[in-house]
């Protein structure tokens, strides 16, 4: 009985609360297929791929917003005998949107490759920009973003010179509900001081709510 009353009270409160929250909050679940290509100066090039899943969220207030994302998955060798490894990737970015179609962002990016021989962790401070625009009214919007590291470090191996990348994607909003879906192609490349590269790209599908 008490549970039923609480549920009813929750329903009554949830609708207006949700209407308020979805203006400021956005959250989604991500899943995608990624490919990692390493090309060290000395050693064997590796190509690994796998599926990653994760989530993302943002908290917006007027022109300022805070974005966070997390994903993880297991990468296995496409060919050869490269050791499989787990990928863990997370970002925390602060963004300012001076105009509706442009956002400038900066923040921390952490990425780890966890293998049997140990964990290789990349840590960067990044800055980037994101351009957004409508494709079909306000229901379908496109975005393109680019970023580059301001500082980069790695815990093992050759020092990291920089990390740069970008993404392009399309977001679909339901007309009368704060629900959205997104398809994004993302690519970034880390370059070590000795000239080696490490490229991670893939296509990410996401579904979420809020942000309108």
């Amino acid at each position: 009985m008490i549970a039923a009353r609480l549920a009813l009270a929750g329903l009554l409160v949830a609708a207006p609360l949700q209407a308020q929250l979805t203006r400021y909050l956005s959250a989604g679940l991500d899943a995608g297929s990624v490919k990692l290509q390493t090309a060290p100066i000395s050693g064997t090039a590796e190509v690994l791929s796998g599926v990653v899943i994760g989530g993302s969220g943002s908290l917006s207030f007027r022109i300022v917003s805070l974005h966070g994302s997390y994903s993880e998955g297991n990468l296995t060798a496409d060919s050869g005998n490269a050791a499989s490894r787990d990928l863990v990737d997370g970002t925390l970015m602060l963004a300012i949107r001076p105009v509706r179609w442009l956002a400038l962002r900066a923040g921390k990016h952490l990425r780890s490759y966890i293998g049997t021989s140990g964990t290789r962790r990349l840590e960067t401070w990044e800055a980037g920009l994101r351009v957004e625009g409508p494709l079909v009214g306000d229901q379908v919007r496109a975005h393109v973003d680019a970023f580059r590291s301001l500082s980069a470090s790695v815990n093992v191996g050759a020092a990291l010179s920089h990390l740069q990348g970008g993404s392009a994607g399309v977001t679909f909003h339901l007309p009368r509900a704060p629900v959205w879906g997104r398809i994004t192609y993302r690519i970034d490349q880390a370059e070590t001081t000795d000239g080696g590269t490490e490229t991670l790209d893939g296509i990410i599908l996401a579904i979420g709510f809020g942000g309108r």
Binding site: P134, L135, V140, A142, Y185, D188
Partner: protein
């Protein structure tokens, strides 16, 4: 009887026409009454008829005229002219339905005959104040109806044009009238609107047993009605204030450009970021999605479609005007119902039906 006639003749000869003309109607009435009391009924009848025939301004007052007719009826009764007495009484009742004989003056035979005549005569009288001002909700024209006997009457106010009654404005009463009745009129027509200025007539009709009008009392009414001015109707929103509710069908290039830019970025990003790497083919899926969406967006933008913000803004503008119009309508309705009505009544007259 012969002696009485002779005496009357002598009196008339002695008095002479010139003397009679010099006497006032009141004197003639007094003589007639005195002659009646002296049982000189023939001479009394002459004096009384002469008193009643005096023209204005020497004519009898209404009360004296009623009194003279009562004495004349009694005189005729005592002269064994019962039909003539009844006719006189009927004339008296029609002229003054409220009149009742003094039981101390007239013997029961006379009063009985009077009452028989009264009960057989359907006559009504109406008394209206000479002037009535209706300024507030509680103000009314008070019409007092008096009946000679119980019978049905109708009291109707009509427009009065060129000496004839026109359209009925309001039926004030329709039903039985006993001794007396008070009817009120608020100066409005049957729909509640104050009567326009002009000439009206109040007609109180006495109905016979066959529901036909026997006789009518008519009271001319002069009405002056002062109404408040109505507020002008608000103008509807001008076209210049209304926003376009549909797109013109132009544009859409921005959607296409955005789609193509996104598609190009998805395809070109690997070359810009990692030229030496083999990029995933999934980027073509994103590029294709962005291109298709851009084309759809362009086509959609080029076909006219409603602009919800403008539609809502225009609806609000029209709703605001509608509220103002409704307010003005209600205000004007109230103003039309508010009026200061002055009713001036003229003396009543009795119209016998044929």
């Amino acid at each position: 009887m012969a002696r009485r006639l002779a005496g009357l003749f002598v009196a008339l000869v002695l008095a002479g026409p010139a003397t009679a003309r010099a006497q006032s109607a009141a004197d003639l009435l007094a003589r007639g009454i005195r002659a009646t009391h002296d049982l000189e009924f023939d001479s009394a009848a002459v004096w009384l008829r002469r008193a009643m025939s005096r023209p204005a301004p020497a004519a009898l007052s209404d009360a004296d005229r009623s009194r003279a007719m009562m004495y004349l009826g009694a005189t005729e009764f005592f002269r064994d002219r019962r039909d003539s007495a009844t006719a006189v009484f009927r004339r008296l009742i029609v002229a003054d339905p409220r009149f009742r004989p003094d039981l101390l003056v007239f013997p029961p035979e006379v009063t009985t005959l009077f009452n028989e005549a009264r009960l057989g005569t359907r006559a009504a009288a109406a008394a209206v104040p000479a002037r009535t001002d209706i300024a507030g909700p509680g103000d009314r024209l008070v019409i007092r109806l008096y009946g000679s006997s119980i019978h049905d009457v109708t009291a109707v106010v009509s427009r009065y044009f060129g000496g004839t009654a026109g359209v009925a404005v309001r039926t004030l009463y329709s039903g039985a009238l006993g001794d007396s009745l008070e009817v009120l009129w608020d100066g409005r027509d049957s729909s509640g609107i104050p009567a326009d200025s002009g000439n009206y007539i109040l007609r109180v009709a006495s109905l016979g047993q066959d529901r036909r009008v026997v006789r009518t009392v008519e009271i001319p009414l002069a009405i002056s009605s002062i109404r408040r001015d109505t507020v002008p109707w608000p103008l509807p929103p001008a076209d210049s204030l209304l926003r376009p509710e549909r797109t013109t069908g132009g544009g859409g290039t921005r959607s296409l450009v955005m789609g193509l830019v996104t598609a190009g970025a998805a395809i070109a990003l690997p070359a810009m970021v990692a030229p030496d790497a083999s990029a995933s083919a999934g980027r073509y899926l994103v590029a294709g999605t962005a291109t298709v969406a851009g084309i759809i967006g362009m086509l959609r933008a080029r076909s006219p479609r409603p602009i919800p913000e403008n539609v809502a803004a225009n609806q609000q503008l029209r709703a605001t005007w509608q509220r103002q119009a409704d307010q003005v309508r209600a205000d004007n309705e109230a103003r039309r119902r508010e009026a200061r009505v002055t009713i001036v009544a003229s003396p009543a007259r009795v119209v016998e039906s044929r």
